[in-house]
């Protein structure tokens, strides 16, 4: 019985805490906390899903934060200096995500073991590009953000819902989707059967990077312009999401549920830190400890 309750708590504790916080707090406090939590989590969900897909397929370790911030900056840059429409911006961001996914896939194909180093180089380039684009006028920024912020929470929720549903359907009802975790776990075995291993990793890279790009889009909609060091924090948050959700080790089961749980859990931790008056650095410290503990306790499945 004990283990049954333990399993239940492990599975649903995050949701339970949020619900209790929402029901038991004063009205204003609980609503604002709830909104903050949901909006934070919603931004993270696509990126974490993408990251999880790439991890699951045994792909290279991607610094998610750099790509998110690059894409957010790209969107704002295009809006400010070229005044593109919203659908154009989204399309360009998705294309940029797909392009980055292709680049990674080809790097994995051609470079093999050296890919981690070149991955870092690519991220340096992305970061450099972002830095070139970043000097924006604060007035413009606040204007755009105000304009976009009016109705974005619902939009983000809807976008997230569709993305989650799409990824769920892809993983459950298509052969390439089902093969993603197989290639991550049994790469040598799959290659010995003569199947195209890189071809099986390809959808994970491309879809994963597109999802990370969409996350960058959402970040561009919602929050302030990222600073120079935010990409480190965001990369760490993606890792923390995997740790809290319970899929730090490659596992193919309940990936959607794990992602939602991880995102909400991370948002909860951040929210608690914020309400306790912690600085950003102290908050990062807490998140770092969570990753560390999860990494130590996580077993190879």
């Amino acid at each position: 019985m004990k283990t049954k309750y333990q399993a239940w708590i492990k599975e649903y504790a995050v949701f339970l805490i949020i619900l209790i916080g929402y029901l038991c707090g004063t009205k204003q406090y609980s609503v604002s906390l709830f909104q903050t939590l949901v909006s934070q989590a919603c931004i993270w969900i696509p990126a974490c899903l993408g990251y999880m897909l790439i991890r699951m397929s045994g792909g290279i370790n991607i610094a998610v934060g750099v790509q998110i911030i690059f894409e957010a900056s790209l969107m704002l840059h295009l809006k400010l200096f070229y005044n593109l429409d919203l659908w154009q911006l989204i399309l360009i961001n998705v294309a940029a995500g797909a392009l980055i996914g292709h680049v990674f896939c080809f790097m994995d194909y051609f470079l093999g073991a050296r890919v981690e180093i070149t991955g870092i180089a690519l991220y340096m380039i992305l970061e450099g590009l972002r830095a070139v684009m970043s000097p924006l006028d604060t007035a413009y920024k606040s204007h755009i953000l105000y304009e976009w912020n009016n109705s974005s929470l619902i939009v983000i929720n809807v976008v997230d819902f569709f993305l989650l549903a799409a990824v769920f359907l892809f993983l459950k009802y298509t052969l390439p989707g089902r093969r993603i975790w197989v290639v991550g776990r049994y790469e040598e075995l799959v290659s010995s059967t003569g199947a195209n291993v890189r071809g099986m990793k390809y959808p994970a890279y491309v879809i994963g990077c597109i999802l990370i790009g969409i996350s960058g889009c959402l970040l561009g909609f919602r929050t302030a312009i990222p600073t120079d060091y935010d990409h480190i924090a965001y990369t760490m948050y993606a890792l923390a999401t995997l740790a809290i959700g319970g899929s730090l080790n490659i596992s193919h089961k309940n990936i959607i549920q794990k992602t939602i749980k991880g995102c909400l859990g991370l948002a909860l931790v951040n929210g608690i830190n914020y309400f306790m008056g912690m600085s950003a650095k102290a908050s990062a410290l807490v998140v770092g400890f969570i990753i560390l503990i999860a990494g130590i306790m996580g077993k190879e499945e």
């Binding site: 009802y173 298509t174 390439p176 989707g177 089902r178 040598e188 003569g194 199947a195």
Partner: protein, 466 residues
Amino acid sequence: MKQVLFRCRDLSIVNEKGERVVDLNLEILSGETIYLLGKKDAGREIFFEFLKGTVPEERGIVKFAERENTAFISEKDRIALMNRTQDAMTVMEFIYLFQKNTTAFLWKRRAFERKTDELLAELKLPFDHRKKISDLSPKERLLTDIARSLLYDARIILMEESFLGLTNEEKRQVTGIMEQIKKDRGIAFVINSDSVNFDTSFQGQCMVFGDTHTVIRKYGSDFAAMQKQYQSMMKPGLEYGNNPSKDAEIVLSMEYAPYGRTDFECLIKAGNILYLHEASDRNRMLLSKIFSGQTEHADITLKYKGKELPEYWSYHKETYPIVVMERIGMEGLYPNLSVSDNLLLPSYKKIASPGFRVPGKRIAETAKREWTKGRPISENIEKLTAREQMELQMESWLMLRPQVLVLLDPFWGMDEQLKNLLVEYLLRFKKMGCGILVISADSHYDAERISGRWFDEHCTGVGEFV
């Protein structure tokens, strides 16, 4: 009329290691079984790799009827898969997710289940698609693998050591099912194996790869004749490997071995490793005793660097840098002495002389400090771990700097880590120019592993057991 599935004429293949097949002519017809037998480095392995498609041909004419419909089944991969029991993958998922070439996009569960059940029924397997892959027996695993190959209409099925872990009864059942599939579907099997222990009811032709890197025998269905011939060819003996360095100095030689072989000559060269494979326990022990100078034989002459060794040379007043290790680990040490003394004892004969005192405590301590490099190691020999015991023994003999090292069954009863350690030490001996002779009846696995590590262009004496 049988269809030709594969045909090659004057085929030559070479890989990076220098293994080669030269001027090979072969036809694989539908409904046929081909056994690839013989020594691994004599071209068997590389030809199999070529059929798998991982090695290109050097020259020759090659024609596959359907290149893409060649399936490969490996025992090692399957065991690796089955050991991961936590995945709890079903048979249906295994068959469909590990497919080679498929154009399907959607996961049509019902259709897949139906097809899986049909395949399982064809292979006479008594379960359906829901069975967990981790619950299968070796025979069922093998047949499930064949089912996966049948799914995409494989025409040639390549199997690697696929009868491991099967009882004779199961082998008979599997071969019966395979015969049936061959008849029904016109499939050809190519089996890469290093043993002839498969069932004789399995009709087919055998290709045996010999020393000259060409196929030297091709048999029809006369299985008994093939087996006899094969065994006479593969009888135990000396193996020099592919690249013996001819100019290396012969440090020790033995002429005429005691077990009925005429003109037998065993040459141990400096900086080389030589395997002497002998299945009989008695003969192995006798050989070791002869090399170590503890016994004599009328017809055997031992020569060290061209000079004949005296009778019972190990008890002779003159010393020779020949070390024979019959026991490795705790049994090869002196249990009543301390660690320092054990470390120094083999060298006593060398460093102690009438002009000097017997080495004292200080030199033993210095030797120990040099060896341990600050590691805390107990002086009590019984408190050492197995690894430390082996290190101690090997270091003590390394200090002697022997010219010849003879080992008797070195890997017997060792775990993987100790084997690796021993291999590292043997490499150190080899590097200092010591000629090494390994007398062993080891399993194929060990020899393969070691030859893999010693197999380079400067290295000689790679042994390969069959």
